[in-house]
Amino acid sequence: MRITDDSPPIVSALDRPNSYIGRSVPRPNLARLTQGRAQFVSDLTLPRMAHVAFVRSPHAHARIVAIATAAAAKAPGVVAVVTGAKLAKVITPWVGVLTHLKGIKSAPQYAIAIERACWQGEAVCAVVARSRAEAEDACELVEVSYEALPAVADPETALESGTPVIHPELGDNLTFERVHVGGDPDKGFRDADAVIETTFHFGRHTGVTNEPRAILADWNEGEGRLTVYQGTQAPHMMQNLFAKHLALEEHQVRVLTKDVGGSFGIKVHTYADEMATVALSKLLKRPIKFVADRIESFVTDIHARDHRVKAKIGVKNDGTITAWEIDDLTGIGPYSVYPRTSGIEANQIVNLTGGPYTCPNYRARARVVFQNKNVMCQYRAVGHPIATAVTEGLVELAAAKIGMDPLEMRRRNLIPDDAYPSSGPSGIKFEALSHHESLAHLDAMMDYAGLRAEQKRLRAQGIYRGIGFASFIEVTNPSAAFYGIGGAKISAQDGVTMRLDAQGALICHTGVTEQGQGAEAVIAQVAASSFGVPIERVRVITGDTDSTPYGGGTWASRAAGIGGEAAWQAGKALRANVLACAASILQAKPEHLDIRDGAVVDRDGGNERLPLHELARIAYFRPDTLPPGFQAELVATRHYVPRAWPFAFTNGVQASYVEVDRDSGFVKLLRHWCVEDCGTVINPQLVDEQIRGGVVQGIGAALFEHCIYDARGQLLNGNMADYLVPMAAEMPDIEVGHVVTPTADSELGAKGAGEAGTAGAPGAVMNAINDALRPLGAKPLTAMPFTPGRILQALGRISESTPT
């Protein structure tokens, strides 16, 4: 029996006295952030620091014929003007491939383009000056002669023989292809009473962070040491990459990441301009800072989700799904992004499609192609929103076709809650999920029957509302199966080092990083609970490769589940060390003692025996009073990596309630619900914030966000006026519910929650819009974002051949 309360109580196995697990404690970093005392890289200055700005290609594809730098070099404040050829002497190029993505290929990418610019926005020259303003002034004086080359813009034609090959040495424009067949799809489709086929389009979009990408690199020639302050999700990964490409050893590189103004997966990649900044520091032997401005962010921050998926479902009249088929095509820009590659998103779509359901008959093909647009790579909920929208779009189209209620359709096909361990049609393994319980919880939470009655009543008045659902699964807590086995030096394990300070407080170093999502709070809660001090006595230190344990950082919803478990284990280990010390002072048996609320107490009865500050005083300043041969060890480190399962899958279901104006094609979001199961909930408020923020980003994909390129590979809306991020005024109230199925892979039992909202929202909104428009005979909408023009077209209000 699982707990289905919206604010799950403390899970019994973790119910230590003074436990903070399951409580919405305020984040310890809140005051720092709200008082403007956070340490963002954008705000940092160092002595002798210079700023770099980049001259960027206005062409999607062009040969660089010549670069005249003399005028820029003489401009006020300029320190250096550096071309790609010059910079290549200090930094080597990279190739974004992984061995477990069989056949993936890419070309060497340089920190600054040398012979060719391959997308609009690629840096072709760096200007270093005393200030960013002076660097930008001098950029205007750099004269680059380009010979424009034909641009490959459309993925649909990228593999055709008449299309130029972007990297001739690779032979074609195919980056990666994966084919998967599970069960017997042909028989599945033969057994179907109805087969529904459609094509889904997903708009290329990007994550828009409050703080843009920022890096400050400081090469100290005398010390032979590179210090890099960087807004990144993965400090140790970057340490490895800086060392590798600058011919240094890792101990010569220190990466510092304090506060980061939002990441969403945008800041977990190798960016050419950031690598160039580090190389410039080495070349010029002084601190160099680069902060991307909003305009260059739009053409350099990774994009994502640009997919066309032809999809098919077979269904029997009783609602049984008999087969799935997808054919995915995606264009990822001219390079596979290093080191995680740009093949993962398509690979995830193959992995996740059909995932919540029992039907094993599945045929999938995914093709990833090069094109002359900004690079695409992993953004929050990699592949999930696409796989979920395709799966759930098919499920609701099939339900409509056979005249079945969409919730009933799911009840008949979702993997039963008592069938675990189980696996998905692609072969992915599930430890324990709760699709049916989540569905039942959602049904009650939203008063589904009541909403359907309201919908019917309003339709009679000419008001068209729709209800749409999306069941989903989410990959969290990844083991080495994600990147490590493919040869990338990206740590799957993470560690926590805990030290009792001289006044009995806890100093806690963790390898996971804070991006504004609350990792610091979660680590502090777990550390305080596991060891036994008030949370005010825990100081969490993140983001310093010199002092924090080696770890992966924050991505793939891993900080709470993996970093949290390391903190739990470290807390237990340090408690044992401290109790050993206390036992020797008190001449008691350690097993008769415990640490609660900052003091050593009798395990039974809880009588206070020794405050921790007194224990620390004795251990640090009067060890001479301890028994001979006893050495107090007031530091403990523990690491954790999931071993039993490659990933801790989570699950959930979302619902969207919308009203579509049939005259204007505008969609009003009325309400949104999400029931999710991330296992043990450490901090309900932070989990709910993750879900809500994720839902908003998913709604952005469904209705607003779109990087619009023309046929020549030019981005047409790369600014905050024309690129529509979702705003509060248009957002519905988002209600969050929980089902709790802890993972048995860790004692904490926590899985990730960072991407569930984003995974399900686009599919739910799509299904709601189609539900609203179905009685009007509208053609189902399957191309995101669902703009008023596209909706008017589906309604026949404007002709199908007219642009929208």
Partner: protein
Amino acid sequence: MKPAPFAYAKARSVAAAIELLASNDARLLAGGQSLIATLNMRLSQPALLVDINGIAGLDRIALTNAHIEIGTLVRYAQAERSPEIARAAPLIALALPHIGHTAIRNRGTLGGSLAFADPAAELPACMIALGAEIEIVGPQGQRAVKADEFFKDLFETALTARDVLTAIRVPVASGATRVGFAEFARRHGDYAMVGLAACAQADGTRLNDLRLAYFGVGATPVRARKAEAALAEGDVEAGVSALAGDLDPPDDVQASGAVKTHLAGVLLRRVARQLGRAAS
């Protein structure tokens, strides 16, 4: 996103501002809500910014029997709170909440919006619908230009490089005045995909002196004169059909011309209801 170098001068009088504008490549700085963004993006690189924010008296709202005069430096937020504007120029009061967000409305000025003349902005269309006059002071003295003749082309107005727009004069609404305003924007506060500002004088069921000013449909606000004729006779659907002859909106990143034309018809029906509602 740092502006190219520029000089800065703060004018203490309109005359001083005009004097400063004599220097080559000078631009006036009012609320800065459009200009500063274009500077930062290096879309414009003036040599001198002439700041008129310190000129006394340009932020007055004055009511006479025939007109309400709105000083060029009146901020949107100030106009929103003005009981005089609510009473004498209700169309402007209807339009103001659609302009940007609070932070923008706190800083942006009515005069700045007209001088910048963004074709998708609300206020230029309101001025045309209201038959407003724009007061301009230049080296040769003061003159007034009717709104119909003020907006020349994309970001081009009757203002010359040495002119200062000093005030807006709008006829005071009477008991017979009917106004309507509606726009479609993907997100609240965005520039409209298409919008409509309308004003008329009711005479029984007839609408006299009806002015329909669309924005977001061309290089300037556009009067829909054929639709005006139909709607004045009370035939809304004929007005909607006539829009095809009145408007030829170009495609942009938010919507195609076809979508804009369709939405213009939806707006006309809504605004016609507002004009009718006010009459009853």
